[in-house]
Point group: C2
Chain length 352, copies 2
C-alpha cells in the first residue's frame, strides 16, 4: 500500500492544488523536481483536460505529484435549480455582458475520477466533500496515496473512516475555497493551530497543514504543532510558473506593498461556497448580499453561482478589471513575492 | 527600564488576564510562583477592588505578575446613549427579571489607571484600545513592563508607536473578548499563525501569542512561529484556582466530553464587542440580532450592551442556567480539563 511518508520527497512542502489555471504542469513539475510535491487543481477541468495535464506533468517529472478533484454529487454537477440573483443579473445588464450559462454548472465528478482510475498518479486529493471507502480502496490499489481535506476535526474523522492516507487541514487563514462540507466547518471557522491540535486529538492520520503559510518559519510552526507537511498556495501564485494572469499577480503584489496587512475576506459571492480572496469592487459593492457564516444563505449554492459569475470574471479578465476577478489569496498575502518559483523554493528550504 | 525578557520567569507561559472573576489572586500567584506569569483581569473591576487585588496578590507571590485594564474613553465609560434592544427587553419582561441598570455602563479607566500609578505592579497590559506614549512612559518609569493587545498587525504597530514593551497578538481562536479596536481587526479576523507572522514582518516588538493554546505542543508551535511567550486562558478556566462558577467549569468540561470539537462562536450579543464563547441558548435564540462581522452593528456598543445583559447573566448564574451565561471559551476548548492549576502547569512544562 502506498503511503505519503514513503514517497521520495526531500522537503515537507506541498504546492496547493489550486483550481482555475494557477497550477500549470510547469509549476507542478518545478516543485516536485525540487523535492516537494506539486499539486494540480483539476476540480473544474474537463476529463480530457485532466488526462492531458497528467500526461504533460509526467513528461516533466518522475517525482511524486498530486491531482486534486472537487467532490460533487451527480445532481450538484448536473442541474441549475436556482435563478441568477437579481443583483448579478442587474450587473450583467448594466455592463452589457452577455450571459450564456453552460448546460451544466460543473464537470461530472464521476468522469473526472475515471480519468484517475485510468491514469494513476502518485497522489490524489479531494476537496468539498468525502468519497466512499470503495473509491478510496480502488485508488490505493492502483498505487495512489489518497488525501482528504478538512476544515473541522469532524471532517478529518470522516476521511479517516473511509480509509484515507492523510488529511489536509485547512485553517481559516487559507486563500481560495474552503474544502469542508459540514455545517460546523463554516459556522465559525477554526484557526489553523486549533484545527491541527484538535484534529490530532481525535484522529491518527498524518496531517498536511494549510492556511496562511508563507515562510520557512511558518512551516516550522505547523510542523511543531504536529503537522507532517505544510501546504502553500498563495506563496506560489505570483511566481513565474504560476498560471494566473499578470493582472492577478500584480494585484497580489500591489496588495502586499500597499499596506502591511492587505484585506482579504471570506465570501460566498463568487461561487456560493465560502472562499477567501482580496477585497475588491465586487465584494464591496455586493457585500449586503453575501452570507459568510449564516446557515440560510440566500445565494445559489456551489457550483451554480460559480457558473453564474463566470461570465463576469471572463469579462473582467479580458478587460484587465481586477475589481471583478476572484483574486483568491490567504491571510499571509502581505508576504507574497513576484519571483521565480525556484527562488521561493530555495528560500523556504534554506531557512528550514 | 523594565523589559519582559529581563523579568525572572522560568517558563514562557502567561495565564491570560480574564476579566469577570476567573483570575483570583490565588490563581495568579500559583502561576507566578510556578515560574510563569499570572494575570489579573481588572478591566471591569472598581478601583478599590483592583487595589485590594494587587495587595492580595503581592501577599501571595514575590514573582512577576500582570494586571490588565480595558482602555475606554471617558464618554464610553460614562454614558448610556442607547436603549435596551427590544428583544432583550422582551426577554427580561417574559422572564420577570428586574432590570436596574447602573448609572454608568463601566468603570472609569482613568481611575483604574491611577490605581496602577499609585500601586505599581511588575507588568501592566491593556486591551480594547491603545493608551498614549505619556501614559506608557509614566508606567515604565514606575518600573512596569507595558504590554498592548492586538488582533491585527496595524494595532501592534500602534502599540509600538507609543513605546510599549511587547504586544499580545490574539488570534481568531481566542476565547473571550477580542482586544483590538480597529475596524480591520474584526472585519475578517486573522488566524494566530498569520497574525504572528505578519506582525513580526512589520514590528520588532516581543510577541505574546494568544488564541486556542491548550497544550505544550501548541506552545512549541507559537514559539516556532516567532512568539516569545504563549498566553493561555481557557486552559486555566476549569482548574481549581479559577474563580468562575462550578456551572461554568462543568459546562466547559461537558462540552469537551460531549463532542470532539465543541462549538464556540464569535458574538456581539453579550456585550456589543466581539467575543468567543460556547454556543448556548442565548446565542441561538437571538442569533438573528447578532452582527459578528458587519460594520453597521445595530446593537448597542461595548460597554453599554455589556451592562444591559448583566441582569440576565446574574439571574442565570443564580439559577444555574448556563444557557444564559457568557461561557467564554477559545477554539481549543475540547482539551479543557477540571484539575488542579498546578497539574496543568506541570503537564505544560513537562512536555515543553
Amino acid at each position: 500500500m502506498p503511503s505519503l511518508n514513503h514517497l521520495q520527497i526531500s522537503f515537507p512542502i506541498i504546492q496547493a492544488p489550486m483550481a482555475g489555471g494557477a497550477t500549470t504542469p510547469e509549476l507542478i513539475a518545478t516543485v516536485s523536481n525540487f523535492g516537494g510535491i506539486g499539486g494540480l487543481g483539476a476540480g473544474t477541468s474537463a476529463p480530457e483536460t485532466i488526462k492531458q495535464n497528467i500526461t504533460d506533468i509526467k513528461a516533466l517529472t518522475q517525482k511524486p505529484f498530486m491531482v486534486n478533484l472537487i467532490v460533487l454529487t451527480e445532481a450538484q454537477s448536473r442541474d441549475f435549480d436556482c435563478a441568477i440573483p437579481d443583483w448579478l443579473a442587474d450587473y450583467y445588464k448594466s455592463n452589457d455582458i452577455e450571459v450564456n450559462l453552460p448546460k451544466h454548472p460543473a464537470q461530472k465528478f464521476s468522469e473526472q475520477l475515471q480519468v484517475l482510475y485510468d491514469n494513476p498518479v502518485p497522489i490524489v486529493s479531494f476537496t468539498f466533500g468525502v468519497v466512499n471507502s470503495e473509491q478510496v480502496k480502488r485508488l490505493q490499489q492502483l498505487g495512489m496515496v489518497v488525501i482528504g481535506t478538512a476544515n473541522h476535526p469532524n471532517e478529518a474523522q470522516a476521511w479517516e473512516a473511509v480509509g484515507a492516507d492523510a488529511v489536509c487541514v485547512q485553517g481559516v487563514e487559507a486563500g481560495g475555497h474552503r474544502g469542508g462540507w459540514l455545517a460546523e466547518s463554516d459556522a465559525d471557522p477554526l484557526g489553523l493551530l486549533a484545527l491541527i491540535s484538535q484534529t490530532k486529538n481525535c484522529t491518527s492520520l498524518p496531517l498536511i497543514a494549510a492556511g496562511g503559510i508563507m515562510t520557512a518559519q511558518d512551516i516550522k510552526a505547523v510542523l511543531a504543532a504536529g503537522a507532517d507537511f505544510a501546504q502553500l498556495g498563495t506563496a506560489f501564485l505570483a511566481t513565474d510558473k504560476s498560471g494566473v494572469s499578470d493582472d492577478y499577480k500584480n494585484a497580489l503584489v500591489a496588495a502586499s506593498q500597499g499596506k502591511r496587512c492587505p484585506e482579504t475576506r471570506l465570501t460566498r459571492l463568487f461561487s456560493g461556497k465560502l472562499a477567501r480572496g482580496l477585497v475588491n469592487g465586487f465584494l464591496n459593492d455586493f457585500a449586503k448580499f453575501d452570507n459568510q457564516f449564516g446557515n440560510n444563505a440566500n445565494l445559489p449554492p456551489y457550483p451554480q453561482l460559480n457558473a453564474m459569475t463566470t461570465p463576469m470574471r471572463a469579462h473582467a479578465k479580458k478587460h484587465h478589471d481586477v475589481e471583478h476577478l476572484s483574486i483568491w489569496a490567504g491571510q499571509g498575502v502581505s508576504q507574497v513575492k513576484k519571483e521565480p518559483t525556484t527562488e521561493l523554493l530555495k528560500r523556504l528550504v534554506q531557512d528550514l
